[in-house]
Amino acid sequence: MKTCVYIDHFKGEVVQASWEALGAAKSFGEAAAIVLGSGIEGLVKSAFEFGADEVLAADDASLADFRPETYASTLSAILADSSPALVLLPSTSRTREVAAMSAIDLNSGVLTDVTGLELDGESVLATRPIYEGKLFEKTTCAARPQFVTLRARAFPRPSPEAGRSGSVRNYPAAGRALTTVEGYAAGEMGVSLVDAGVIAAGGRGVSNNPSLGLDEAETAKKGFELLGELAGVLGGAVGASRAVVDAGFIPYAHQVGQTGKVVAPDLYIAAGISGAIQHIVGIRSAKLVVAINKDAEAPIFQAARYGVVGDLFTFVPALTAAFKKKLGK
């Protein structure tokens, strides 16, 4: 079966889950990568190295800024020409728009945030979380092509094969942009919670610790430094609960949970997080959860495999040191 995979990127930086989608497509047979943008030779090269059998490209100055209308129209034109049964996309803010709009153009349906895929002939059976992960549903799409966006880290990432190449089919850009991008301010570097293998996250316990004799903002600064060191030793990212984000102690990009990011790390360390249901639903896909909390009754322990009852300000540095020693860093 021929599958198309949409390679999502922001200003030429590929969203790594695009390669996971390519790997999933390859497990079903031939996979063509779709790359849209301006000056995309590097992306095309990477697509072949990560396993694309063919690349369908639209390289045009009008596609320099991502705008949903032009990207969707171009994607729809490419799909109408190549008519695959299935289109896989990594689940991101951009693919939500292009897949959604292209599905309208082609009179088909979108299955989003998918965590499991099976094939029944050429029909995909996609498993996806609903009701904030409280339930899962298996869904199908009766129309063609079937648009499926895959949740980051739900599928294995293939290893690139240097020098692998193939043929490129070029398409013109299509559609008319209806928005103008006037400015962009980069978010904090290194905060990619959905891609992180390890997340060390802090909650109210990070700011609320009178024994340090500091005000809450200073306490939080110190607490997140400690979590940053722990995350650093494990090559991970720092997360946060909504309470500390709302209080302004750490930017929104770090927020895990229902109104923040749904994450799927191998290891999630929750420090000083009580474990509101809205937070728990964001970490259901974590492979291993460790909770550190002063309050032995905190609900977070019910979501954790291992727990430590204690003060994160003394325990987190000890944990960082123990990891350093064990991992020989």
Binding site: A100, I130, C141, G197, L267, Y306, F315, A318
Partner: protein, 256 residues
Amino acid sequence: MKIITCIKQVPDSEAKVTAQDGQVSWGESPLVINPFDEYAVEAALQQKDNGDFTVTALCIGPESAKEALKHALAMGADEAILVSDPALENLDSQGAARVLASAIQKIGDGKLVIFGRQTLDNGAGVTAAQTARVLGWPLLSFTGKLELNGEGVRVERVIEEGKQTVSAKLPAVMSVIQNIGEPRYPSFMGIRKASKANIPVWTLADLGMTAPATAVRRIELMNPPARDAQCEIISGDSPEEIAEILVEKILAEKVL
């Protein structure tokens, strides 16, 4: 000029939702306005506070969904419309977008259509984009701040990579995130007004359309795999000792 907010009714976020005999069950928990949509109503009311707008809340759902619309009225929306039709039972997102687009056209004079970023139940978060596509209007998703200026709108969007400033001509469709500001509580007067409100119900015939074809279909509903609920509390004589034991245990799980 009108601002239209599209809302949905969903089980409360605190509800224990389970799969029972292939159906979604939320026990005795109430159905409420989708929490993300409260931000959409708030965003619309902020514009009404500062300009010459009226706010219309629009919802597709059964008769009981009028309660969600009443919440929007109690917050300060001027009117509410329910689209309800037995033929809409298996609606998917693209079908919902086509129905909403027709209703938005019928309401008329809409300058801005505001959605929440996603619903709590399906959670796909694609209906705003699809409605924009059907209408042929610009889409401004994940908006945290907005500024209307005559014929146009400028927004600050929050995406994975940072913040973007984007502008478009009106009319436009947008989805908003929590940076827009905490939704206001319904006032006492608002609640009284909402309880007396007469909410018109439009059928597909009123919209001059038949039920859109359904592409997406659920074939199975599953409870999440049972989690190993047992939490092992690690104890020891010192933080250092506990940390060493914990690291051993974590490494033995072989997840890293």
